[in-house]
Amino acid sequence: MDSNRLSRIDDTTWRLEPSGAMRAPVVIYADEPLLRGMDDKVLEQASNVATLPGIVGAAYAMPDAHWGYGFPIGGVAAFDPTLGGVVSAGGVGFDISCGVRTMLTGLPASAVEPHKATLAERLFAAVPAGMGRQGDIAVEPAAMDAMLEGGAQWAVAQGWGEAEDLARIEEQGRMRGADPEQVSERARLRMRRELGTLGSGNHYLEVQVVAEILAPEIAAAYGLRRDEVVVTIHSGSRGLGHQVASEFLLEMAAHGMPEGTQLPDRELACAPIASPLGQRYLGAMRAAINCAFANRQILGHRARLVFGELFPAARLSLLFDVSHNTCKEETHTIEGEPRRLFVHRKGATRALGPGHPDLPEAFRQVGQPVLIGGSMGTGSWVLAGLATSEARALSSACHGAGRALSRHAALKRWSGRKIQDELAAEGILVKSPSTRGIAEEAPGAYKDVGAVVLATERAGLARRVARLRPMVCIKG
C-alpha cells in the first residue's frame, strides 16, 4: 500500500480522512513495513465500509489486515441503529464466529515429546478434519434447536466438557438473542453431521509449547508457564454458518437496502439493523455463533479425551475461547457518551482491557486473553487486551498473521510433502488429509506473526503475553 495516500498519526496509526461518499475516516494500525506489505485493496475496501450508513468512529484495519471481500479481513466497524446503522452479512463473513480456544495441559514439553507421534495419530483420528470427513454426532432436529439456543452451555449439558469451561468462553458460551427459526433447513442439513469437526483451510488443532513469556504477571494470571504444553483449536460454525451467511448475503444484496441506495461494492450487502431483514440476520447469526461455541467445546472435549488416555495425570483446563468473525451489540464510549453499537469484527478479535465489566473475574485485573493464530511453522501468540484499545479500535485487536501469498501462489512455490518433512525436522508433526492443503497453508504463505503482534502492542490494541511454538499440527 502506498503510505502517501494516508496521514501518519504516529508510528503505528495511519488515517484517511473522509472524502466523497465516505461518512467516516479509515484508520489503519500497522507499522510502516506492514503497511507497505498490505494490498491497496485493504484501503479501498475500508474506504467502502466507511460509506455505509450509521458508521460510528472509523472503519478500522488491524495490523494483519488483508484483502477480503466487501470488508477487509482484519476489519472493524461499528454502526448505530438509531442513525440508520446497518448490519452486513459480508461484514461478518462466511465462517460466522470462527475463533480460537486455548487449553492448558499443565504438562511439561519433556513429558509430551516422547509421545508426540502417538499423540498426533490419536488426535488426527479423534478430530475429523478436512472436507468429506463427517463427525460421529448426528444432530436431530430438536437437538439442533437446543444447540443453536444454548451453544457451549448446551454442549456441556450433553456431556461434552466441564461446567467450569463456560466462564472461560466469550459470552459464557451462549450468545443471547439467537433465533433458531431464522436458520434454514438447508443450513441445518449442512450441520447435521458436522458438529465436532474441524473443517478445512486455515483451521487447525495444535499442540503447542509455551516458548517465551513476555508479561510474567499476566501469564501467571492466565496459567501460562514456560515450557508447558497447551492445546489450541481454530474452527468455527462449520457448514451451518456458511449457509446462513450465503443465504443472507444474497437476500441483502437483492433487497437489503431501500431502493436507490448505492453501495460501492455488492459484497457490502447489508440491511438496516432496525429492519425485519436485519433482525432476522442477527437472530440467525447469533444462532450460528452458538453453533461455533458448541463445535469448539466438543473439539476441546475430544482433545481432553485423547490427552486423558495418553497422560492420565493431565487435566486440560480452558484458558479462553474467543471469536474473530462476529457482529455484536456492545456499549462503547464515543466522545464521552456510552452508546449501543453493532460492532462488526471480520478477522479481528475482541480485546477487552483490564477492568472491563464483561470480563470473567479471573481476567478482571489483567485483561482478556487475545488468542492469535500464526502458521504451522512460526507459532502463535497469547496477548492481553489493553484498556487503550477501547478508544483506539472499539476494544479490538488482530486475529492472526494474515496471508502474504495467495493459495494459488503458495501452491506454485511449495510442495506439501516437502513442507511436512521440513517441519518434522524442526520437531513439528503435521497431519492433514491433503498435502496440497499443507502447501496452500505453508508457513511462508503468511506474514510474520511476530511483526503483527508487535505492531498490535505498539498500537495499544493488545499486549504480548506469551509466544507458542507448535509441536503437533492437525490441519483440515
Binding site: 472436507m131 456458511h242 444474497l250 491433503s434
Partner: protein, 182 residues
Amino acid sequence: MIEIKDQAGTVSERKAMKAGGEPMGTDDRDPGAGATRPTAAAASSGAGFALFPHDADLGVHGQGPTVEVAFAEAARAITAAVTDAPVAETDRVTLDCAAPDRDLLLVAWLNAVIAEMAVRGMLFGRFRVRIEGTQLSAELWGEPIDPLRHAPACEPKGATCAMAEVRREADGLWHARCIVDV
C-alpha cells in the same frame, strides 16, 4: 497468472485456451440453441475454467459460448479447487435456484453447488445448466467424497458477491467470475 483448464483438465495459458466442456442450454441472444450439443462440437466452443488468485480465498472463472456453459465451467473450477483427482459420475443430483439478476444468479448457483457438496458429501465433475429468466435449473454428476483418493485441499464455504460478474466479452464468449471463500 490465470490458468485455464479444458474439459480434459489440461492446464494451459489463457491465451492458449483449449476448447472443451459440454456446451448446453441457451445463450439469451441465441434462443434456438437450447439442446445439448455433442461433445465433438464442444471441442471448438471455447469452454473452460480457471482459478485466479485472491489473498485468502480463491477466484473462480468459467467461460463458454453461452451463459449456461460459463456457469457450468465456473462450478467445475470449484471442484478443481478442492481436488486434483478425477471425479467419477456415479450419482446425479438436480437443483434449482433463482436470483434477481445474472450476477447474483451466478452467486446463487455456486452457493447451491457448494451446499450440495456439503450436504451430500459429494464432489461433482459435470454440470448441465439451464437458465430461463431469473430461474436456474441444473443437473450435477459426481460421486461421494473419498478423503483418501480425492485428498480435498480445501472446503468451499460459499460464493461471494465480490467481483461477481457475468458478461460477454470481446472474444465472443460468456465469462462468469466471482470469489469463493475457502
